[in-house]
């Protein structure tokens, strides 16, 4: 994590070192930084603030495009390496148009690591003809299946990274609402985004208070204190939920949340623009399956 000397700037808030009041400091506590990488300012989420054509697209359009892209990628038969290469190029084009820094994309791809481990196991456990790779005997089908899975997962993860880097959470909510996601789910997501920062702030203050009284944390002997923190955090959050509900009732809440004001309808041109990625991907798939021999 890099430290900036000088006046804070909004542009510097991207990535892990966010500018959220409560959560920023938590990342700088010695010995705890690992737990907060990327948490930054939760209410802006993973947004990289730029003004590009991708950023300006309404969220519902981008959501549909990403899901369609992932569906085509998943539907691609095993071992069609050429098709995957074209997909990757298309996606790289979107990353470039959206001005999302490549380094940032690479760093956020770390979230995929557990999948990589799983894919790497496949060649060793799958059955079938064996091949020698670097002097180790592995299953040929397992090798191909593992590599394909890794490629599909990577493409999906990068597409999601681009979506998150170009869409603020509140726009995402408005987009989901316009896609007719049940209002209850939109409300739950909305509260989660709104109160993540508040609960993280609570947790941070409780930990500082604990450590100020001599608890250094990290050792097994301190597990009881950590469990106590978790318990009281739950009680605090539960009580806050009750107060929020009272505040909602006080303003006439009668069982359903009003529509968000931040969303807007998408124009046909925007749908067409966003569709260009999944359509190009689908055309690539059809070409490779029907024309290019294996």
């Amino acid at each position: 994590m890099t430290l900036v000397v000088g006046p804070p700037s909004h542009a510097g808030a991207q990535g892990g070192a966010g500018e959220g009041s409560g959560t920023l400091a938590s990342g700088h506590l010695p010995g705890h930084a690992h737990g907060h990488v990327g948490l930054g300012a939760p209410e802006e989420g993973l947004l990289v603030i730029r003004d590009t054509v991708v950023h300006r697209l309404p969220a519902q359009v981008k959501l549909v495009a990403v899901v369609a892209f992932v569906l085509v990628v998943v539907a691609t038969p095993t071992g069609r390496w050429g098709a995957f290469a074209v997909y990757a190029l298309l996606l790289a084009g979107v990353v470039a148009v959206a001005h999302v820094p490549a380094r940032l994309v690479l760093r956020r791809m770390l979230i995929e690591v557990p999948f990589v481990v799983f894919a790497a196991v496949l060649p060793f456990v799958a059955s079938g003809p064996r091949v020698e790779v670097l002097g180790v005997s592995v299953s040929a089908t397992g090798l191909v299946a593992g590599a394909t899975m890794l490629l599909k997962a990577t493409l999906g993860v990068v597409a999601a990274i681009v979506l998150a880097a170009t869409t603020a959470p509140r726009e995402m909510l408005a987009g989901l609402e316009r896609l007719r996601l049940p209002a209850l789910l939109v409300a739950m997501l909305s509260f989660m985004i709104r109160y993540l920062a508040v609960v993280t702030g609570d947790l941070h203050r409780m930990r500082v208070a604990r450590e100020s009284r001599g608890d250094t944390g990290g050792r097994v002997g301190q597990a009881a204190a950590v469990a106590g923190t978790a318990g009281s955090l739950f009680v605090r959050s539960y009580e806050r939920g009750e107060r929020v509900h009272q505040a909602m009732l006080a303003r006439g809440y009668a069982g359903h949340l009003p529509a968000l004001v931040s969303g807007r309808a998408a124009r046909a041109r925007e749908w067409a623009l966003a569709a260009s990625l999944p359509v190009a991907t689908l055309v690539t798939l059809v070409l490779f399956v029907s024309v290019v021999p294996r």
């Binding site: 959220g20 009041s21 300012a41 939760p42 209410e43 802006e44 959470p169 509140r170 909510l173 909305s190 509260f191 985004i193 709104r194 109160y195 920062a197 508040v198 806050r240 107060r243 929020v244 009272q246 505040a247 909602m248 009732l249 006080a250 303003r251 006439g252 809440y253 009668a254 949340l257 009003p258 529509a259 968000l260 004001v261 931040s262």
Partner: protein, 274 residues
């Protein structure tokens, strides 16, 4: 809850003669049997600003939650007494309209601001009243302008300073065009500049105010009259300056002025003709 008239039309039931708020013989016990209110009587005239003082545990917050039927007999609890807002009695079938007329600003703005953006949050109340489209947008803009936050409409609440959040919380209830604004500890956790800015805003509003506070100079500055709640009863009512200057009364109810503050040495809030 369908009894609330749709739209925010100006209240027909309000008349200059009936007080903005009238509470009569209000008693309440929590489900665990702990009784908090023992017969509260109070009145707030139209356009009047009244401070509600009292030590911790006196029942102030419990009383506030009764004023719009969140607690009490209306919501199925145990209680006695009656509440009228601009002549409209609080009953099960009027609770919707009562909640429009009584705007409660809670102590922690994080409890009150639960929507993704400031504009969404201010729109929550009027949208529940049935407002849509440009009418809703106008209402939101007007309420935010009243507290000087119109330029922050699209920001997430968490990006605002505490003072800004408190002001947005005031706007969320102003957007419902209430008859009476009820504030729970409005000056708590504010720095002196934010505290003064909020006072300026409250003074600029043409609405009755009932304000729970421990900040006695704030009560003196803003409210011509004060009520003292202790042990679940109103034990004193009168001009704020007289109450604060009554040493024996103050001591008897665990109220203390800040060091060096003399209520007789500063101008009091102008009284409202009642």
């Amino acid at each position: 809850m369908s009894g609330a008239p749709a739209g925010g039309a100006s209240p027909s039931g309000a008349s200059a003669s009936s007080p903005a708020l009238a509470v009569d013989g209000l008693a309440f016990a929590y489900p665990d049997g702990r009784q908090v209110l023992y017969g509260v009587d109070l009145e707030v005239a139209q356009g009047e600003r009244v401070a509600l003082l009292g030590p911790n545990g006196a029942g102030k917050t419990t009383l506030l939650l009764h004023l719009n039927g969140i607690l009490g007999a209306v919501s199925g609890g145990t209680g006695a007494g009656s509440i009228q807002v601009s002549g409209l009695p609080l009953r099960k079938d009027t609770v919707g309209e009562i909640r429009r007329r009584v705007g409660i600003v809670f102590q922690d703005p994080d409890d009150q601001l639960f929507m993704p953006t400031v504009a969404d949050d201010v729109a929550f109340g009027p949208a529940n009243l049935g407002l849509r489209g440009s009418e809703l947008a106008d209402r939101v803009h007007h309420a935010l302008s009243q507290v000087g936050m119109a330029d922050q409409a699209d920001r997430p609440p968490h990006h605002l300073s505490f003072g800004q959040r408190r002001r947005v919380a005031v706007a969320t209830v102003l957007a419902m065009e209430p008859e009476i604004l009820v504030l729970d500890e409005p000056s708590s956790n504010l720095d002196p500049a934010s505290r003064r800015e909020l006072a300026d805003i409250l003074q600029s509003l043409d609405v009755a105010v009932l304000m729970v506070t421990h900040d006695l100079p704030y009560a003196l500055q803003l409210c011509s009259r004060s009520l003292l709640l202790d042990g679940g009863r109103i034990v004193a009512s009168g001009a704020t300056r007289d109450l604060l200057a009554d040493d024996a009364l103050m001591r008897a109810h665990r109220l203390e002025l800040p060091y060096g503050f003399d209520p007789l040495s500063v101008p009091a809030a102008p009284a409202v003709e009642r």
